[in-house]
């Protein structure tokens, strides 16, 4: 077998230091990392197990917002009463992600670090070219099987889709990633592929996600996550939308609107153009549908994924109208 070292970190600082060493990777729920190790993508020399660290799995909700420890399980967060009532889109995104078995193992920090399902990325022995794995080696996906690839945020170097659900909701509500000392908006935490698709997150060696903070927002309280896919469960999104809305006192005029897309982009995709087009307006179906088309402005397809460009605005519009109806 391929040897690697296994360390059990005694403290957050110890974990950070160990993870800073070359070839070291943090191990939490393992649902992504072990899978990637099996298909030869992840080749850690050292696994730093953080699952036994105390105090990192809490879920605290107050008037100011929610703080979710990095080791909180997806399933626990999804089922947390205050998350459900104050951040329904977050709970719904988690409930529709993966399978019950995976949600019971996978952690929130690990969820943010999950990697693309691009089949070329995941198959190094048969497709050596992948700029995400080996910078400069090329992209096998372009010209290949692309039904599940991104139409937004792509580059000549990479069209791999960001597969997650939770982060889509987090991006909509300006969540903050806590990296110990440093804090960074989740939208900035995920990087566009550009010329360096190997660099996916704004996290440096020696840093570790310790918590996610979601500020309290009226739009988050009235929010939803709508995920469309061929199969009812255990499938990545064909297109998804996290939407939150806050009305003026008249109950019709949009004071705040949050829109983010999943299943269509190289990172969790905030659709500010849609938000800006509708903020200050009265919620009205035709206007919503027209504005939703802005969600895919600049989209580029690679053949089989063209349908996502058609689908995504419809998902956004439905989610906005659904939130409007609950007035």
């Amino acid at each position: 077998m391929r040897d690697f070292s296994y360390l059990r970190a005694g403290s957050i600082d110890a974990a950070r230091q160990a993870a800073a060493l070359p070839g070291a990777m943090l191990l939490a729920g393992g649902t992504t990392l072990i899978d990637l190790a099996k298909c030869g993508v992840a080749e850690p020399e050292t696994l730093v197990d953080i699952t036994h660290l105390k105090g990192l799995d809490s879920i605290e909700v107050s008037e100011r917002g929610a703080t979710i420890g990095t080791l909180a399980k997806m399933g626990h967060v999804a089922d947390h009463a205050d998350i459900k009532s104050r951040f329904p889109a977050v709970s719904e995104a988690l409930w529709q992600a993966a399978s019950a078995q995976i949600r019971n193992m996978a952690t929130i920090g690990g969820n943010l670090m999950q990697r693309t399902r691009c089949p070329y990325f995941r198959d190094p022995s048969n497709f050596p070219a992948c700029n995400k794995r080996e910078p400069g080696s090329g992209c096998s996906a372009i010209g290949g099987v692309t039904r599940g690839h991104a139409v937004l945020g792509t580059s000549d170097a990479c069209i791999a889709m960001y597969p997650g659900d939770l982060a889509v909701a987090l991006v909509a509500f300006d969540a903050i990633v806590h990296l110990g000392q440093r804090q960074i908006p989740v939208d900035d935490f995920f990087l566009l592929p550009g010329a360096t698709p190997d660099k996916e997150h704004a996290i440096e060696p020696g840093e570790m996600i310790t918590a996610i903070e979601i500020p309290s927002l009226a739009s988050a309280r009235r929010s939803t996550y709508l995920k469309i896919r061929d199969r009812q469960s255990y499938e990545f999104a064909a297109a998804s939308a996290a939407v939150g809305i806050e009305f003026e006192a008249d109950g019709r005029t949009i004071r705040d609107l949050r829109v983010a897309l999943g299943g269509v982009a190289t990172k969790p995709w905030r659709a500010r153009a849609v938000e800006d087009a509708l903020k200050g307006k009265v919620l009205e179906p035709d206007a919503v549908r027209a504005a939703s088309l802005l969600a895919v402005e600049g989209a580029v397809d690679h053949g089989a994924n063209h349908y996502k460009i058609e689908l995504a605005p419809r998902v956004v519009a439905r989610a906005i109208l659904k939130m409007g109806e609950t007035a």
Binding site: M1, G143, D230, L311
Partner: protein
């Protein structure tokens, strides 16, 4: 064997009288839910090593180099088997002595003919070391462009399709029929390549002892596997002992022993120690058979009353470059709908894939989805309800041959399923039904059919002086419930309560029970069991009726009944005695009998024999997203005598769910440049999850068939997938007005 003991230690079912027809739960269920059931890969003989396949990255070409030294240098690696050191075989793996023999990739040379073909085997002390050793081989290839897709090579008309069916059939003149028609339709449907994904991947544990072989491996055909291995290794079949008590699903992929399984045997011979080899999920996408893609064009003509005047069904399919298996899709039009003119034809291309093989209802499933879609289109073109149209074209005799059916309760299937489903209130036009949530709602139907096939089987029965019985046959339980259904037949055949019968199966040292395939296992091995029981009871009756001390003396063999461990006089049931009394008086510890199961050639010549069914589906489609959900399925099936209604219903459920899978989910997606399948895993090769099958109902329609066999059994293993896939597709049309012509139906097909 411990297996039979533990099976017979299960709590007895408190019940008297006939076992056949009782809804017994699986006798092996307790073992399975407690994890005690031993599957092939659960075996670990002392000294066992682990073998891992190295498989080809490319689709076509040759292996130019393998770094065997690097693999062998890895800690724990014992040996690397390549074409250079692979032990000699007594037969050429590329030889094909008969159509039912398929060519195997056994490292006979450095050629690569499909992706995931075995190119080496690494044998090590641990699974991890063998896995890493395989990775260290770092193969270099000389590759040629892959031939991919139904237009990827020059087409030709194969000599035969399926197993020996001519590629072209016709009766009457379809061109005349089409010309005379008042209404015509023509449509082309595409079905994708589908790959076997049984929960249990192919696995083998092998131990050699000189020229004797001990094997644990899942097999749908123990004697065939034994014969194939014997031929390849030049040893006597009786020197090969294969145990296959349980299969974690077969579906045709374990009908014949696959190349990787034989490589496990070779690996064990090479290293002189027991070896285990288990395929990884992605390694199943190549060497173990698959369902080939098809492109089917149907032309139909109808007269002014909606009667078919012609059916023309053409199918393009694909085989590998090195062997012949052609999905007989167009043959689906031979048996269902009456028409004065029917033509079916096939052509094919050769692609750089593993050889396609049997996959649950091979030909029937692919053909059915196209035929049932076309029938739906034809009904609509005639302005008729699809059920009414099917009844108008109901076949009273088998359309292609004119033979009468041995039995056919299809009308009753239509009636019961339609009534249960509520079909009568269906609007004729599409896109007229919406539910309270705004989903487009559609209702569709399909006719199910599958031939009632029998093979050859033998069984051995014993009655013991303690009044218990033993029934032995090398039958295979693929998860369908053979352990239970066969024990029920054995109990009735022996005239014993089921808890007094020891039933042995799943081992090659038992009488040959033929293949668990073609939906014919229950009929075939069941008849062997039934006849073995009759034979031993006849001997018992001879002992009793010929002995003056017996109350049955002089009754004659025909004059006695066997029931509950006793023989009775037929004309006076107060006179009888127990099996134990008869054997004890005769001074015998046990008596035995043998039985065979086989098709009756005379009735085969006279009758068309098929099971039938009707499936009704409701789908809901989101009008904006094209997201399809099957909200309801109701099927009614008539398949002769039902041995165990609980197990039969489960078979129908499984088939119907696979029908949903066919219509909406399953597809192997190939990278056209490399020829590799890009979704060779269960996250992305989709089958329905529980949430996709919220309501499935299967009705068992009574049917007596005096001709198929003495037990009246047809077979239920494959019929459920037929009819269902078309019903779902037709429901999607009824919901949306969009006619699916490509399967599986995806979101993008309905976005509009």
């Amino acid at each position: 064997m411990t297996l039979e003991l533990s099976l017979n230690q299960q709590p007895a079912h408190a019940r008297q009288g006939s076992s056949i027809g009782q809804p017994l739960t699986r006798r092996d269920g307790f073992l399975k839910v407690t994890g005690a059931a031993r599957y092939a890969a659960d075996n670990h003989p002392p000294g066992m090593l682990y073998a891992v396949l190295a498989v080809s990255s490319i689709a076509r070409g040759r292996v130019a180099a393998l770094d065997v030294e690097a693999a062998k240098a890895h800690h724990g690696v014992v040996e690397v088997m390549t074409p250079k050191n692979r032990p000699a075989l007594a037969a050429d793996p590329d030889a094909k002595d008969h159509p039912f023999m398929f060519r195997l990739d056994l490292l006979q040379n450095d050629q690569v003919r499909y992706p995931n073909q075995s190119i080496a085997v690494v044998i090590a002390e641990t699974l991890e070391a063998a896995t890493e050793g395989a990775a260290l081989l770092s193969p270099r290839y000389e590759s040629l462009p892959a031939r991919v897709g139904l237009d990827g090579a020059e087409s030709f008309v194969p000599r035969g399709v399926g197993i020996g069916s001519p590629a072209v059939h016709h009766k009457g003149d379809v061109e005349v029929g089409l010309k005379s028609a008042k209404t015509r339709i023509e449509a082309t449907y595409e079905t994708p390549a589908q790959y076997h994904n049984a929960m249990e991947p192919h696995a083998i544990v092998v131990a050699w002892d000189g020229d004797r072989l001990s094997i644990d491996t899942p097999s749908q055909g123990l004697a065939m596997a034994q014969g194939r291995i014997a031929g390849l290794f030049g040893i006597a079949p009786e020197n090969i002992h294969i145990r296959s008590p349980f299969l974690g699903g077969g579906f045709g992929s374990k009908g014949m022993i696959s190349g990787p399984q034989v490589l496990g045997i070779l690996a064990a011979r090479l290293v002189g120690r027991p070896v285990k080899l288990v395929l990884r999920r992605e390694q199943m996408y190549g060497p173990v058979g698959h369902r080939a893609p098809t492109r089917q064009t149907l032309r139909m003509g109808m007269d002014g009353e909606g009667r078919l005047t012609a059916i023309d069904h053409h199918a393009r399919t694909a085989s590998s470059t090195f062997d012949d298996f052609f999905e007989p899709a167009a043959d689906a039009s031979h048996t269902l709908y009456a028409s004065p003119a029917i033509a079916t034809s096939h052509d094919a291309v050769r692609l750089d894939t593993g050889t396609p093989l049997f996959m649950r209802a091979p030909g029937e499933a692919t053909g059915s989805i196209a035929l049932e879609s076309a029938i739906d289109e034809a009904a609509h073109a005639c302005g008729m309800d699809p059920l009414e149209f099917r009844l108008r074209n109901y076949a009273e005799v088998e359309p292609m041959t004119g033979k009468p059916f041995s039995s056919k309760a299809l009308r009753e299937c239509y009636r019961q399923a339609a009534e249960t489903f509520g079909w009568a209130s269906r609007p004729l036009q599409p896109r007229l039904m919406r539910d309270a949530d705004g989903f487009l709602t559609g209702w569709g139907m399909g006719t199910a059919t599958f031939p009632a096939i029998m093979f050859q089987a033998e069984a051995h029965a014993v009655l013991r002086a303690d009044g218990s019985g033993l029934m032995e046959t090398g039958a295979q339980d693929m998860g369908q419930g053979a352990w239970t259904a066969f024990a029920q037949i054995a109990a009735d055949g022996l005239g014993l309560d089921i808890d007094r019968v020891e039933f042995r199966a799943g081992s090659s040292d038992l009488p040959n029970a033929g293949i668990a395939g073609g939906s014919g296992h229950t009929a075939t091995a069941g008849m062997a069991i039934h006849n073995a029981g009759a034979a031993v009871i006849a001997r018992l009756a001879d002992l009793a009726t010929g002995n003056e001390a017996s109350p049955l003396f002089g009754a004659g063999n025909e004059g006695v009944l066997a029931r509950g461990g006793r023989l009775y006089r037929r004309d006076d049931e107060s006179r009888g005695e127990s099996y134990a009394e008869i054997l004890t008086r005769a001074g015998l510890t046990e008596i035995e009998g043998h039985g065979k199961g086989a098709p009756d050639p005379a009735s085969q010549e006279t009758y068309a024999k098929h099971a039938h069914g009707a499936v009704f589906a409701e789908v809901k489609v989101d009008p904006d997203f094209g997201q399809i959900r099957v909200t309801r399925l109701v099927g009614a099936f008539a398949a002769g005598r039902v041995i165990n209604p609980r197990l039969v219903r489960s078979q129908y459920y499984g088939g119907m769910i696979w029908g949903i899978s066919f219509a909406l989910h399953e597809e192997a997606i190939t990278d056209r440049r490399s020829g590799r399948i890009q979704n060779a895993n269960l996250a992305e090769y989709h089958v329905p999850v529980n949430a996709d099958v919220p309501s499935v109902e299967a009705l068992l329609v009574h049917e007596d068939d005096p001709y198929v066999n003495a037990l009246g059994i047809k077979g239920v293993g494959e019929i459920g997938i037929t009819g269902t896939a078309g019903a779902v597709a037709n429901a999607v049309w009824h919901a949306t007005g969009v006619r699916p012509r490509r399967f599986p139906i995806r979101i993008e097909d309905l976005l509009g």
